[in-house]
Amino acid sequence: MSQRVPIRATAKMKELMGFYYMMAKSAENDPNQKIAWITSGGPVEILHAAGVIPIYPENVAAMAGTMKISDEICAIAEEQGFSRDLCSYARTDIGSALSGKGPIMGSASPKPDLLVCCNNICGTVTKWYEELQRIFNVPLIFIDAPFQYGIKDRPEAIDYMEAQLRRMMEQVSEVTGKPFDMDKFMETLELSDRAVKLWREIQDLLQHKPAPMNSFDTFIHLAPIVTLRGTQGCIEYYETLKAELLERIEQGIGTLEKEEYRLGWDNLPVWFKIKFLSERFSQHNAALVVSTYTRSFCYQAEDRDISNPLRAMSADYLAGYINHGLDFRERELTEMVRDFSLDGFVMHSNRSCRAYSFGQYELARTLEDKYGVPVLLIEADQNDTRMWSDEQVGNRIDAFMERVASKKQRNIA
């Protein structure tokens, strides 16, 4: 029986992220150091290669959520006319940009010289970055990653991406005032590729029983792959984490005293309720071992041409889970059920994210009816606490776990 052993690498990650934000913050006053705000699914390698510091408003919004200051910041955007029905990340970020309030050492993110928006995660970012452009009056690079309705990505969409990424290099170089360094770019792509593969390997280690880490931990350890992919620091960090997880596997260390049930998670975390959810599932000896959300940051295109790195990159940036239709999502979910030996799936129906959430009812029904996988739908929001009820969600989790348990017993019997 394993005791609860904390993951040591967490401290190192906090150090890494703290250093990154300090560096970014100090760059705000350095006119030679350019800063770009970029969406989480954006082609950041081009920025790293050009020496531009990337800032991720989504990550900053999530930090505000975990620090429980997002409601207050959202209210600032709402006063300006942004409806409460709009994405809470966008409201958090716009409120932060307007007021200077934020989670980074008590204030907002360092101001951008450039905005980079890629709509491979949702259409909301298009509108959100348009607003940022109006606030900061800096260039906006928009990368349109066509949603892939079928399972196989369309070649004309990959061509379209490639043309846009080439143009982005020129646009970035106009901002830096320096020619785009192709060699540095190729190096960055390689670093990024290694980090993405490591991130996938780390998540795949959770296939082991007991899982050496929980998805609630994975949410936290996501920060470097989002913000620092394409840097050496990111690789070093994930190598450390991977080594520690392998060690835990060898010693049989899990995250629960007894891991009886294994669950998947769909959609963004409920950032302000990570602890509550983690404890509630633990009470039922249930571990969350995989999530579509954290895996979104390690998708690589299926038939990527590695001899042509820019082409492969163009395909990769189309290849994510939420840039795909429901047939693709069904396939991914069922593969997760199989590979991670799942007893059920928890789907966060996230009011903020229509791109991620609409279609979940269909997928939930498919998992239940076609594959016999119990599904729990939690109606909530990634950052907006105002419609959450511990009691209601807690009761639903308890009822769901009863269903999971009785199904498992039937299967054993």
């Binding site: 006319g81 709509n119 949702c122 909301t124 949603f147 309705y149 239709g325 229509r354 609409f358």
Partner: protein, 377 residues
Amino acid sequence: MSSNIKSVLEPFEKVKDDLYFFARQAKQNGEKVAGFLCTYSPQELFHAGGYFPVRVIGKEGGTPLADQWLQQYACSFAKGVLNLGLTGDFSFLDLVVFSHTCDTMQNLAEVWRRRVEGMPIIVVSTPNLNGGDIALTYLKRELTRVKEEVEKISGNTITDANLLESIRIYDMHRNNMRKLYEIRRNNPSLLSGTDMFTVVLSSMLMKKEEHNKLLEVLITELQKVPSQKEDKPRILVGGSVCQAQGFIQSIEMSGAIVSDDDLCMGSRSYVIPPIPQGDPIEMLAQMYLSRIPCPAFYKPGYDPAGPYIEKIKSGNVNGVIFLQTKFCDPYGFNYPYLRKRLEQEGIPSLLLEVEQNQPVPEAFRTRVEAFVETLIK
């Protein structure tokens, strides 16, 4: 209103009682009907492929079937049309066409494909980047692919000559509609906003050839009427409502006249600059990319307040009412900026959140009346 104009309007009004009166008539004659969910669907292609394209619209009432597949926070347009898809109300359609615009429409297309039986669907991957050669190249390839798919499904070959003819008919239609808008901009009392929106609605549900003929008669009749003095406050409606009739009527009952709009299913879809004759696919791609962009799209350098201010100035508009469909993100994000710009221009505006599947609520009337009162000097 003269009795002449009244009788000219009669055929348009058939769609008020039965949206798909003309579609059903065509079906009885053995024709094929394609339903499109968005004005970005390249109707010309479907027209050239032998289909009668009609707009897919919801109707008043609850959406119990759609509620099983879409969350509470999905917009009433998506739920309304999905519900009718699931009840079989659209089973007369031979084909359904979606266009990639917002996240809701994207996932609606997916749920529809998996749950609504009986007809094939085509999704047009409209680029969300509007403008520039890169997007143009992509859209040309996408329209070529769609053309081939239409040919496969319909069994009809779409020749360049067919397609050019369809483009000509649709162009003529847009010109006629623009003329009508222009007449009303100068002299709104000639035709009420309520009647205008019946014309707009019917334009999406009748054959363009027929609609053109009727429009030409209507325009000729309106041009005969001497211009009248009008002291009702002029309102421009903006926002994201697809079926505006009830709301327009309610606004006009409060003593104002709706003289113009910035609605996607209104003036926006008729504003396309002339495109030189050439390869028809290239023409279509250029046309759809040079429209006033859907708020879900990004167009470099485009100012969403531009069309508002231009219409307000050229049409002496006194106030703006935003009819905002609840849970419509693209318009929701534009609103704070539009409100600010209108304030700077000294134009009063009112935001009203609407549900498209519900009758006009009493609170709507009350707020409109209060707003219109402030405009009457």
